[in-house]
């Protein structure tokens, strides 16, 4: 009885927060509702006796994925009101398509029957005979023993995703101050330090003005910074405009 009450509470909150994810006006609220939905789904897993999956859902989805979403939503400058513009126009059409698909699925599942013939999987069952029978152990057995090859394949999929993220987004920009350790180590005192004898009572101007640092800085600097002349007048203008903007 208690389990049933808890189940309905979790389910109701899950469905409601799922609706709120897509209907909330503020995208940050959407992400927060998503986190709520994940927590309730984890609760449902717990009721079903899948304690490992439940904890995994909280750790992976709430701890990592949802927080990442939150960062993306807050960092990217997306005009969400503009994105919603087509909603009014496309909503009836989308609802019609969704309704037809839903009706078809219901019709399918009314006639659902599972196989009358049962064939034992060639790989054997989940747990070894007399071996571990907890959920975690069984999952580990499946993933790391039976499905070892697809598991490694998934590793390669992630590697490819990483290569893609790097190739498609990493740009070498000649940024202003790049650190060059060997250059720093090779620096001598006379490169950077000049001892001057200045007569008393003169202003900076009369002594020749401020002096720029010695050559070593010029090596890694972008043209236009540190008083280095920009390559072309256009480039100088562009970098000046950028500076104004900043």
């Amino acid at each position: 009885m208690l389990t049933q009450i808890v189940f309905y509470v979790f389910s109701a909150v899950l469905v409601t927060s799922g609706m709120m994810v897509i209907s909330a006006r503020n995208p940050v609220h959407s992400v927060l509702f998503l986190i709520l939905a994940f927590f309730n789904a984890a609760g449902l897993f717990l009721i079903a006796g899948a304690e490992f999956l439940s904890m995994l859902l909280v750790i992976v989805y709430v701890g990592a994925v949802a927080v990442l979403f939150l960062f993306v939503v807050m960092m990217l400058d997306i005009d969400f009101t503009k994105m919603r513009e087509g909603l009014q126009r496309y909503a009836p059409f989308g609802a019609a398509v969704g309704g037809v698909l839903f009706a078809e699925l219901v019709m399918t599942f009314l006639h659902w029957e599972t196989s009358a013939v049962v064939v034992a999987p060639v790989t054997g069952g989940l747990g070894e005979p007399g071996g571990p029978h907890t959920n975690t152990a069984a999952l580990g057995n499946v993933i790391y023993t039976h499905y070892f090859l697809p598991f490694q394949g998934c590793g390669l999929v992630l590697l490819v995703a990483m290569i893609g993220a790097i190739t498609l987004t990493l740009r070498d920009r000649p940024t202003g101050r790049r650190q060059d350790i060997s250059l720093q180590h090779a620096r001598r005192r006379q490169d950077t330090l000049d001892m001057l004898d200045l007569p008393l009572g003169n202003s900076v101007e009369e002594n020749g003005g401020f002096r720029r640092p010695a050559d070593s800085y010029y090596v890694t600097a972008i043209p236009g910074s540190y008083g280095i002349p920009a390559e072309t007048p256009e480039a100088a203008k562009a970098s000046a405009a950028k500076g104004d903007h900043a």
Partner: protein, 474 residues
């Protein structure tokens, strides 16, 4: 046992990782050619290892190796090697691809090989994702060119949808049968007698997901934009290896577990094949861009190849496999010629740019004409034998309607293929192309020779395809 079974895949995966590290260690400007050479070498070694692997199941029955898997793996690797050679010729002037390009082609081929050996629906999906994800990245790899970014994004969004459909189909099959392994699945379907509703819907979803990868009508919408926008070597790759892998799965699933229920899927495959052939030839007529033309042509070719499957017989499967081998050869050749279409270091892709090519570059024009005649199916070019075998198998299976559609589309197709030949040989020459890169001349000349003298190797290919077809059709 397990080691030997998947030896080619293991070698390819490890060398991919090594090449990746080597590429990062080299200077950025000159890392492409060594990385491409290394991956050609890795795929070449793998190509020689494939025939040495024994038959059997491995890794808890998720991996199966038989004559069929070996045949398609060789096609996939050959496609990967040819596309990588084309990519070396592409590195000129303003177009510079990063060294990740050959590495991603290598990983994509690895995914395709896993698909060819799938003994479990999980392996199917992981292999498919590995292969597709690499291609999404490859499409957008010239990210500063708007068309390339568009191609990558379009393919990615539609491809994800197709993967979702496929996964949903797999889950329905699992929900019905309680197993994702192909061998028990076929026993269950055989024991059941017919094909129950849930399983049938799952099968339709799986066919839809795979037909998307094959760019068959009505799942072809992404093809022209993705082909046109991607860099030419990537287009050459996309039109080859991933299609062989998708065909591998389609044939393995339909002839294997679902083989008992052939009448149920035959009409579906027939429809897809007929529509693809007809649409591929009709929509290609108004095209002015050669890469778009090739996109529609590949839609049509997939339709012809599917005709063999529609026949639902071992002869039909053999015909499909021979068709794919012929398609590999002419496809790589055409894209090598397209890659050589450059003026002042810039790529040009309009059909009109080919005007008078026979006078400016007679060798290139001859090669292109050979490929065009082969695509039409003129004997004794490679394309003729493929077309002949699929038409013959459809005749034996009594699919006269499909035959008529195929015949009409072949005639329409002849018009636009021969138009390219006419432009090259009878129009006034325009400005001359740059002299083609040696690697491109190598591929186009080599494939031209293979296309013309395909008859010599036909016996070997047909008997290998025969063994492959019997390995899955039983």
């Amino acid at each position: 046992m397990n080691w030997m079974l998947a030896l080619p895949e293991l070698v390819l995966a490890l060398s991919g990782l090594v090449i990746l590290v080597a590429g990062v260690c080299m200077k950025k400007e000159d890392s492409f050619v060594p990385a491409a050479m290394l991956s050609i070498a890795a795929m070449g070694v793998t190509l020689f290892l494939v025939p040495l692997t024994p038959d059997g199941n491995g890794y808890g029955h998720v991996f199966v190796n038989d004559g069929f898997a070996r045949f398609l793996k060789i096609l996939i690797l050959a496609g990967g090697i040819l596309a990588t050679i084309i990519s070396i010729g592409y590195q000129r002037g303003s177009s510079r691809l990063p060294f990740e390009t050959p590495v991603l082609m290598l990983f994509s081929s690895l995914g395709a090989m896993l698909m060819a050996s799938a003994g479990n629906l999980i392996t199917l999906f992981v292999g498919l994702e590995l292969s597709s994800l690499s291609i999404y990245i490859l499409c957008a790899i010239e990210r500063d060119r708007l068309k390339s970014a568009e191609a990558g994004l379009k393919y990615f969004i539609l491809g994800s949808l197709a993967s979702g459909l496929l996964l949903y189909g797999i889950s329905l099959v699992y929900g019905f049968a309680g197993t994702m392994e192909l061998v028990p699945l076929s026993m269950i379907i055989a024991g059941q007698g017919g094909l129950p509703l849930g399983l049938q819907i799952g099968m339709v979803f799986i066919i839809a997901g795979l037909a998307f990868k094959l760019s068959s009508v009505p799942f072809h919408m992404w093809t022209p934009d993705a082909y046109q926008g991607s860099p030419t070597p990537v287009t050459a790759y996309m039109a080859g290896a991933p299609k062989f892998a998708a065909f591998a799965l389609l044939l393995r699933l339909m002839a294997g577990p679902f083989g008992m229920a052939a009448p149920r899927w035959q009409i579906l495959i027939e429809t897809i094949a007929g529509l693809s052939m007809l649409f591929g030839s009709l929509a290609a007529i108004p095209q002015t861009d050669i890469k778009r033309l090739m996109a529609y042509s590949s839609i049509g070719h997939m339709g012809y190849a599917m005709m063999g499957l529609a026949a639902a017989s071992a002869t039909g499967l053999r015909a499909t496999l021979v068709y794919l081998a012929a398609y590999l050869v002419m496809n790589a050749g055409v894209f090598a010629v397209i890659g050589a279409m450059r003026r002042g270091g810039r790529e040009v892709t309009s059909i009109r740019d080919l005007s008078g090519l026979s006078r400016t570059h007679p060798g290139m024009a001859l090669a292109m004409a050979v490929f065009m005649f082969s695509m039409v199916g003129v004997p004794p070019m490679a394309g003729f034998f493929g077309k002949f075998m699929v038409f013959a198998s459809a005749w034996h299976a009594g699919l006269y309607g499909l035959l008529a559609v195929g015949g009409v589309s072949a005639l329409i197709g002849a018009y636009y293929y021969l138009r390219v030949v006419k432009v090259m040989y009878f129009d006034a020459p325009v400005q001359e192309f740059d002299s083609p890169a040696p690697s491109l001349s190598f591929v186009s000349a080599g494939m031209g020779v293979v296309t013309v003298f395909f008859l010599i190797g036909l016996g070997v290919i047909t008997s290998a395809a025969e063994i492959a077809a019997h390995a899955i059709a039983g």
